[in-house]
């Protein structure tokens, strides 16, 4: 049977349509759903879209930014107030994929994709989800742990802007340049107070089935100045709690071997 396309004016209606139809998938930029359809995923029988402008909105004027789920990576790169997110946005796909792929969709992209989400995880973002019961905010960590079971529609993500350009760092390690799948992806948010790190967040991609925080490394940084000793300690702790797997891009062994090296390089500002 051909696929049915349903377009709604509001995200509420779209969320309701999604929860009432097991064969329904929400179409964001198309990079996930259209590929699945092209490759013969017949479980998808309905495509749900929403023309709700709220999904496309960027609110970045203040210290807390909110980005609609339908905002593309190209739009993020074009937004000066989102400079801290330019590196992660630029690391996604080639230019065409960045014109299509959305922040919301990236939350659902499984390994070796989903790099932007690594940045959001380090930024302690919250995810606004619309379900039949109404809209609610979920911490991104919690969201990722339950994303396969998520009912409803992601409306937006929001996070605090880093205090300085230096406080947020991102790096995606790829075999292919400039566009490649993630071998590992690293993001670090290092707020400082009187020269010491307070509230360190290190997030990793491709080091577990879903993006995760390197909490041991965070602890090694917490309350310390970002000096060589601290960086070494964080790098040494980078693998703790991770469970990388083999895939076509690299093995679990390799990922474990290099995550500390790259975390050290990221934290010390080395190429």
């Amino acid at each position: 049977m051909p696929v049915t396309v349903k377009t709604f004016a509001t995200s509420g209606e779209a969320a309701a349509a999604l929860s009432s139809d097991r064969g329904a998938r929400y179409l964001g930029g198309g990079t996930l759903v259209m590929r699945a359809l092209n490759e013969g995923d017949i479980a998808i029988s309905t495509i749900v879209r929403a023309s709700d402008h709220a999904l496309m909105r960027i609110d970045a004027a203040g210290s807390r930014v909110t980005i609609g789920a339908g905002v593309t990576f190209a739009k993020i790169i074009a937004e000066r107030d989102l400079a801290f997110l330019h590196a992660p946005a630029r690391s996604i796909g080639g230019p065409a994929v960045r014109n299509m792929g959305t922040v919301g969709g990236n939350l659902f992209a499984s390994s070796p994709y989903g790099d932007f989400t690594v940045a959001l995880l380090a930024l302690d973002a919250t995810v606004a989800v619309q379900s039949g019961l109404g809209a609610r905010e979920v911490g991104i960590e919690e969201f990722l742990q339950s994303r396969e079971r998520q009912a409803g529609l992601v409306l937006s993500i929001s996070c605090q802007k880093p205090a300085s350009a230096d406080a947020f760092r991102y790096r995606k390690i790829t075999r292919i340049k400039p566009k490649g799948g993630s071998v590992i992806t690293l993001a670090a948010h290092l707020p400082t107070s009187s020269g010491r790190i307070v509230g360190a967040r290190i997030a990793l991609g491709s080091m577990a089935p879903t993006q995760l925080r390197a909490k041991s490394a965070e602890r090694a940084l917490e309350g310390r100045p970002l000096d060589a000793t601290t960086i070494s300690a964080a790098a040494a702790a980078a693998t703790e709690g991770t469970s990388p797997t083999d895939n076509a891009l690299a093995s679990a062994w390799y990922r474990r071997e290099i995550v500390g090296v790259h975390l050290r390089r990221l934290l010390s500002g080395q190429e």
Binding site: Y113, R175, N247, Y254, I258
Partner: protein, 340 residues
């Protein structure tokens, strides 16, 4: 220091064609009434330039401008038999067949011109610009167009030619492997320079210098396409490509262009190429085939450069960062070899 540079070389030869089954190709050439020529082939252009190189061979042999020749490929009703586009046989086998067909067509064209000019065909030559003239008396000339009209409408001649090039079957001696697998060989030597990161095992290409001997570069721009793209593929084979990353374990096979690794436009390096031409006795204008062999030297040259940079030998392809890193660790660190 974490990054180390090294250089490595490899030199190779490569057989042109493969005639263990007999290796024929055919071509037909004919003129239309305006003196423009069509080459009919069943040979395939998969990007290597079959249409273009046979076009030049035909034009040169006929003695007409290349613009007067059009090559039609790969129609089983109109194109005569060809084994196919593989084994570096295009330029050599198909080129020879086209040359033979063009020679026959040229013979008829010169006879027809001789009749029009009332001279002996042996006294005529082509000027390469679409005219046939009496040797030593270029004012006595006739255009190929007028010859074609005359042949068609007055003389009742068909300006056409058939060509086949067959390298006959070579039997193989089962006990010794004695055989004649090919009639000529192309040659190459490539120097690769790499930079190896000893903490991650990553290998970056720095530059390549190479020399390829190809019999004759029938079209240097087409040769350049093959050699540049071929060396890229060689590097890709050396460092990236596999459908089974954990071979012989068959798991985790790539399914798309993110998982199947090939160097991107940001991974390429300068490549300086020299082409040598030692004509093959049986090649069309001496030409051999550059298409396949151009990839081969890059693989070992890269592997040897990695050894030169960090002192480890990776004997399993592709040479992934993982393999390099494991070897460096097993060795107790990078050991740069004498700088070359």
């Amino acid at each position: 220091m974490t990054k180390h540079r090294g250089r490595g070389i490899a030199s190779i030869n490569y057989p042109i064609g493969m005639n263990l089954g007999g290796d024929p190709s055919q071509a037909l050439v004919h003129s239309n009434p305006s003196g423009k020529f069509t080459v009919s082939l069943s040979s395939i252009d998969l990007g290597q330039g079959m249409k273009s190189v046979t076009r030049q061979i035909c034009a040169e042999t006929l003695g007409v401008p290349v613009e007067d020749v059009y090559v039609d490929t790969a129609d089983s009703d109109t194109g005569p038999h060809c084994m196919g586009s593989f084994a570096s046989r295009g330029t050599h086998r198909v080129g020879n067949a086209v040359m033979a067909a063009a020679k026959e067509a040229r013979g008829v064209m010169m006879e027809a011109a001789a009749e029009e000019l009332e001279v002996n065909a042996a006294d005529l030559e082509t000027d390469g610009r679409g005219n046939i003239q009496v040797k030593g008396a270029p004012h006595r000339s006739i255009s190929t167009k007028d010859v074609a009209i005359a042949a068609q409408f007055r003389q009742g001649k068909t300006i056409s030619g058939r060509g086949i090039f067959l390298v006959p079957l070579s039997d193989v001696d089962p006990e010794t492997g004695e055989m004649s697998p090919a009639t000529c060989y192309a040659h190459a030597c490539l120097v690769a320079e790499v930079e190896v990161d000893d903490e991650t095992g990553e290998v970056a290409m720095v530059r390549m210098d190479s020399a390829y001997e190809l019999g004759r570069a029938l079209n240097p721009r087409l040769v350049e396409q093959q050699l540049v793209g071929g060396a890229w593929m060689g590097v890709s084979h050396a460092l990236y490509e596999t459908t089974e990353p954990y071979y012989p374990d068959s798991s985790h096979g790539p399914r798309d262009f993110v998982e199947y690794l090939m160097p991107g436009p940001g991974d390429i390096c300068p490549h300086d190429i020299a082409v040598l031409e030692r004509p093959a006795a049986d090649g069309p204008f001496g030409a051999k085939g550059p298409g396949e062999m151009c990839a081969n030297p890059a693989l070992p040259a890269v592997a040897n450069a990695i050894f030169n940079a960090v002192g480890v030998r990776i004997d399993e392809l592709p040479i992934t960062p993982e393999k390099v890193l494991r070897a460096i660790k097993a060795q107790g660190g990078a050991r740069s070899q004498p700088r070359r």
